[in-house]
Assembly symmetry: C2
DNA sequence: TATTACATGTCGACC
DNA sequence: GGTCGACGTGTAATA
């Protein structure tokens, strides 16, 4: 990894055009060739970047700027990717330029919450709605698996979409699933329930207008809950 | 900005649990206090991070690990944010530790984001379709604002959804808006037009099946265009 | 503060 | 190569 601290200006031309005026920044070049330009603030996202694969051309040279003064010396990196996007870094003054061999990273081990939420609800469907019993988790359809398929007290089929954050596109997803289930006439009536830790207001409106109910569940509470079978006593 | 190259292991506990085994990495600490741990590859996203605001506690000390060997010396950073998420960085060996004063960044100037595209189209709706005139930009509805509402030559209301990239969810969005507009019977017939710099094949198919038209517009061309009023002569 | 929609989103899985 | 769905999404604007 190469780390350059420099006063620089930057131009990106690709999906959009972006320009960074001259200032002091960190330029990070990783072993895979990706380049990122960081300011001294603003979370982890760089101001500008170019992901691998790309090619870097380093230009040194004098440029006749048309004035009577001595020619301006330029030091410029031109980073290009196969999509012909370019990142042009003009280095006005290099304060530091170091490189370190880090080796390949063993990688991140994650233990997620979101898959867990679905597990917990599968174990305790009554937490979604009184009297609900599980038919199948990850119920397969042609357009993807439905998180939970249940039956309610009246034996009506209930399709459940589970999200950590209840956004509007989750409701769209549920809509597509229900549409699909309704093609299978053997199932009879089908209801939809949208479940999330937080359901956004717009998602509530859309869910209701589609005839779905929505439920907000508390993860910690759910985790403390015993499976339905055990709770009968 | 402080840059530490170190052999380290990392644990994050918060929205999920994540662990990084011991390896050589870059630890970046910015002036606003945010911390990012980078491997030597994998685009610009760090393996782990903690955004500002947060507090860093640096621990030095000996730990009795229970063995007969000499106690293990530990050097550990514990980063905590107000939401009680924690990032624990254990430094096994520090290869380099430098700091640089960068100052505040003048910031990024962007050109070509969706807002610009919408502005240009609002100024020149005829670029979307001949004879189109603007009724209102950001037309408000209960489920969000419609990018552009226009009328065509026959005075029919036309709802326009503008996207930089024409994906399938943009068509869904337009569908919801039209659904909503049709509840307001005073508007009469309503057509939908999906506008983007590039419309993906699936989005084209879906738009057509919904009875919408789709249009691909060139940003640079649009920018060179004069507003409709001026173009009448 | 909360709510919304955009993002050069990024990233992985699957087809 | 494309689409789809999730992300510790982040981020800025707006109410």
């Amino acid at each position: 990894m190469r780390l350059v601290i420099a006063r620089c200006s930057v131009d990106y031309a690709g999906k959009l055009a972006a320009h960074l005026p001259e200032a002091n920044r960190l330029i990070m070049v990783k072993a895979d060739g990706c380049v990122a330009i960081h300011a001294d603030g603003g979370a982890y996202k760089p101001l500008n970047w170019m992901n691998a694969p790309n090619t870097v051309v380093e230009e040194f040279g004098d440029v006749d700027d048309g004035s009577d003064d001595a020619d301006t010396s330029v030091h410029r990196w031109i980073v290009t990717n196969p999509k012909k996007e370019t990142l042009t870094i003009t280095l006005h003054e290099v304060m530091s330029d170091t490189a370190h061999e880090l080796g390949t990273d063993p990688g991140l081990q994650k233990d997620g919450v979101e898959a867990h939420l679905q597990e917990l609800l599968a174990a305790s469907p009554a937490a979604i709605e009184d009297g609900l019993t599980l038919v199948r988790r990850e119920y397969p359809t042609a357009i993807g698996p439905i998180d939970l398929v249940c039956r309610d007290e009246t034996d009506t089929v209930v399709a459940v979409e589970v999200k950590r954050r209840g956004d509007i596109d989750g409701v769209e997803q549920l809509t597509r699933y229900i549409e699909r289930l309704k093609l299978d006439s053997s199932l009879g009536d089908i209801r939809g329930v949208f479940v999330a830790q937080v359901v956004k207001p717009q998602a509530k409106v859309l869910a209701e207008s589609r005839g779905f109910t929505w439920v907000e569940v508390d993860y910690d509470e759910l985790r403390g809950m015993k499976p339905d079978e055990l709770r009968l006593f």
